[in-house]
C-alpha cells in the first residue's frame, strides 16, 4: 500500500439554529490518499489479491486515527472511497466493502452495524459527503448525519481516497421522533 498523504478534518459545532448545542458536537474524518492498486493494469477481472494486499492495512491505519481525531467515544460512523479519473468505482468499492476493512473500525469503536458508505469517481478537489449512522443500531434516527470533505489535490487520476468518519453524538439539535413512533 502506497500512501501519499493523510488528511484529518474535525468539525466542532457550538450553535445550530441560533441556539447553543448542549455540548459541542464533534465529527471527525481521516482520509488516506493512496495509489490505486490496479492503476495501469487495464481491466482486472479478479480484484481479490489487491483487496487482500490493502484493505486490512487501510482499516488498521484509519480506524485508530479517526477515533484519535474525534477524541471522544464514537456514536455514529461512515466510510467513503473516491476513485481518481483513470480508475473504476469498483476499485474503491473493493477496498471498503469488505469486512477486512470495516472490522478494524467496528472493533475499535465497539460497533456492530454495517458502515454506511459512498463511492464515487472524480477529479482532485471533488467534494464528497460521508453518511454516518449509529454504530450499534442503524435505525436510530437522531444519528443519521453527513460530513462534507474536500482535498484540494486528491485524488490524482491514478489514486483513490479512502476515508472513515466518526461522530461523538447525533445531529446538533436533533429532535425527530423515533422511527418506532411511526409504526
Amino acid at each position: 500500500m502506497s500512501v501519499r498523504k493523510i488528511v484529518t478534518v474535525v468539525e466542532e459545532i457550538r450553535t445550530e439554529g441560533g441556539r447553543e448545542v448542549d455540548r459541542p458536537a464533534r465529527v471527525a474524518v481521516v482520509a488516506a490518499v493512496i495509489e490505486n492498486p490496479w492503476a495501469g493494469q487495464g481491466f482486472v477481472e479478479d480484484l481479490a489479491p489487491g483487496i487482500d494486499a490493502n484493505a486490512s492495512d487501510l482499516g488498521g491505519l484509519l480506524a485508530p486515527a479517526v477515533l484519535d481525531a474525534l477524541d471522544a467515544p464514537a456514536e455514529a460512523y461512515g466510510k467513503a472511497a473516491v476513485v481518481g479519473l483513470d480508475g473504476e468505482i469498483e476499485h474503491g468499492s473493493a477496498l471498503i466493502h469488505t469486512l477486512k476493512f470495516g472490522d478494524h473500525f467496528r472493533k475499535a469503536a465497539g460497533a456492530t452495524t454495517l458502515l454506511p458508505a459512498i463511492e464515487k469517481r472524480g477529479p482532485a478537489g471533488v467534494v464528497f459527503d460521508i453518511p454516518l449512522k449509529h454504530i450499534t443500531d442503524a435505525t436510530i434516527r437522531s444519528h443519521h448525519q453527513t460530513i462534507e470533505v474536500r482535498i484540494t489535490d486528491a485524488p490524482h487520476p491514478n489514486e483513490i481516497v479512502i476515508a472513515l468518519a466518526a461522530a461523538a453524538q447525533g445531529r446538533p439539535q436533533q429532535r425527530l421522533a423515533p422511527l418506532s413512533t411511526e409504526q
Binding site: 502506497s2 500512501v3 501519499r4 498523504k5 493523510i6 488528511v7 484529518t8 478534518v9 474535525v10 468539525e11 466542532e12 459545532i13 457550538r14 450553535t15 445550530e16 478537489g125 467534494v127 462534507e148 474536500r150 482535498i151 484540494t152
Partner: protein, 208 residues
C-alpha cells in the same frame, strides 16, 4: 479597572470550528527528508458589523473579539501539530460573508489584537502572511505560510487550504490560523544566501 484596558469578550458568536490537517508521506514518489504536518483551524463567527456602514468605527469589537479568536485558534493549532516547538511556519486568513466588507475581515486579522497574539502564542517573530476574500459558503481559501522567525526562508513558502462547507453565511466571518511543522516536501530552489545576482544585465537580455 485600568484605563484603556481591553477585556476580551468570550461571547464572540462562535458557530463552529473546523480543523484541517494533512501529513505528506510521499511526494513525486519519494518520502520527504523532513515530513511536515500542516494544519488550518477555522472559526465561524457572526459578523459584528453587518449593516454598520463604511464609516463605522471597528475598533471596539476588534479588541474584544480578535484576542479570543487568537487564543482559540492557536490552542487548536498547537494541539493538532504536537506542540508549539514543532511549529516552524505560520499564516492567517479570513473569509467574510457577502453582507460584510473585506475591511471587516481585516479588522479581525490585521490588527495587534489578533496578529501580535498569534505571533506570541506560536512563539514567532515574523510578520504573518495572509489571505482574505469575500465569498459564499463553501469557498476554499488557500492560506499562505512562511517561517515564523525567518520570513525569507524560501523552503518554508507553502500553502494549506481552509474550507467550511456551510460558512460563511452572508452575515458571518470565517477566521483562520494555519501552521506547518516543516518545509515543502522536497525544497530545492535555493535561498537568498545562495542566489546569484539576477538582473537584466546579468542575464544579458532585456525582456521585452
Amino acid at each position: 479597572m485600568q484605563e484603556g484596558m481591553v477585556h476580551p469578550d468570550e461571547n464572540i458568536g462562535l458557530r463552529k470550528l473546523v480543523l484541517y490537517r494533512d501529513v505528506v508521506f510521499t511526494e513525486a514518489g519519494e518520502a520527504p527528508a523532513q515530513p511536515a504536518r500542516r494544519a488550518s483551524v477555522a472559526a465561524v463567527i457572526r459578523n459584528p458589523w453587518v449593516s454598520a456602514g463604511p464609516s463605522a468605527d471597528l475598533s471596539r469589537e476588534q479588541s474584544h473579539i480578535a484576542p479570543v479568536l487568537a487564543k482559540l485558534l492557536t490552542d487548536r493549532l498547537v494541539a493538532s501539530l504536537g506542540g508549539v516547538d514543532e511549529i516552524e511556519s505560520f499564516g492567517k486568513a479570513a473569509i467574510v460573508g457577502t453582507s460584510g466588507e473585506i475591511e471587516h475581515a481585516g479588522a479581525l486579522i490585521h490588527t495587534p489584537y489578533f496578529g501580535n497574539l498569534v505571533r506570541e502564542f506560536l512563539q514567532g517573530e515574523s510578520i504573518i502572511c495572509f489571505a482574505d476574500t469575500r465569498a459564499e459558503a463553501g469557498e476554499t481559501l488557500i492560506v499562505p505560510l512562511w517561517h515564523k522567525t525567518h520570513a525569507s526562508t524560501r523552503s518554508h513558502y507553502q500553502t494549506i487550504s481552509a474550507r467550511v462547507s456551510d460558512a460563511p453565511r452572508a452575515d458571518e466571518i470565517v477566521v483562520i490560523a494555519a501552521a506547518s511543522t516543516g518545509p515543502r516536501p522536497h525544497p530545492r530552489i535555493g535561498d537568498r544566501m545562495t542566489d546569484p545576482v539576477v538582473t537584466t544585465e546579468s542575464l544579458e537580455v532585456v525582456p521585452s
